[in-house]
Point group: C2
């Protein structure tokens, strides 16, 4: 089991207090978070620092960005072993219309989609909207 420090070092980015805190925050959350979510969790930190920290994490494939259609960018930790640098991790994302939460369905990979002749598929974004397990009561 790698420590967070070791993870950051392995990605060649400096270990700083802020980065450790933000990583831990993301790790605790089971859901995708917005920049504002992080901002609210660390009121003392500057928005820009949080923004750039997340961007750095993204570049280094520590987190991935999620566009769930709400218009607000969300972020979630990558799975261990995911290789976002090379190709997108093609799991589904689910957005709950009731509690407004967005989660990674990492177990559910996006099926192969056939595109018309002449088109080349490089990346796929699939977001399902509906009611989540917590809200459906099923």
């Amino acid at each position: 089991m790698k420590t967070i420090e070791q993870l950051l070092e392995s990605k060649n980015i400096r270990v700083t207090a802020m980065r450790l805190l933000i990583y831990k925050f993301l790790a605790e959350k089971q859901v995708a978070v917005t920049l504002s979510d992080i901002e609210n969790a660390f009121e003392k930190a500057d928005r820009t620092t949080l923004y750039r920290t997340v961007k750095t994490f993204e570049e280094k494939a520590i987190v991935h960005q999620i566009d769930d259609g709400t218009g607000i960018t969300k972020y979630a930790l990558c799975e261990k072993g995911c290789n976002c640098e090379i190709e997108t991790d093609l799991h589904l994302h689910f957005h709950c219309n009731n509690c407004n939460v967005t989660i990674c369905l990492t177990e559910h990979k996006i099926p192969q989609i056939k595109v018309p002749d002449g088109f080349i598929s490089e990346d796929i974004n699939l977001v399902i909207k509906g009611v989540c397990d917590k809200c459906s009561g099923l």
Copy 2:
């Protein structure tokens, strides 16, 4: 073959010069357009009017909104016979990373996606990014 006037009347919205122009503009385009695209095409018209016209078209299921992940909302005419009011028309959208164009693949419906127990799927957004037929040269 319905005229545009008849279409608008059938949806219970007034036929105005602006609406006819915007409809024709959308009909000519084979690709999804942004509000800015429309703005540039009709420099004399006010942005708000264009914005509200498109919103009206959307409510009446004349156009549908497309979130292609670029962060800028795009719009395209609905197919005749689509029933966006009741349920989303589940066709794919393709975004070309080269020419930056987004198009409706109306013939390509989104396959059935299995969601985990307890989750209820109400709507699906599927965007494929890559190289379009015009750009691929295939």
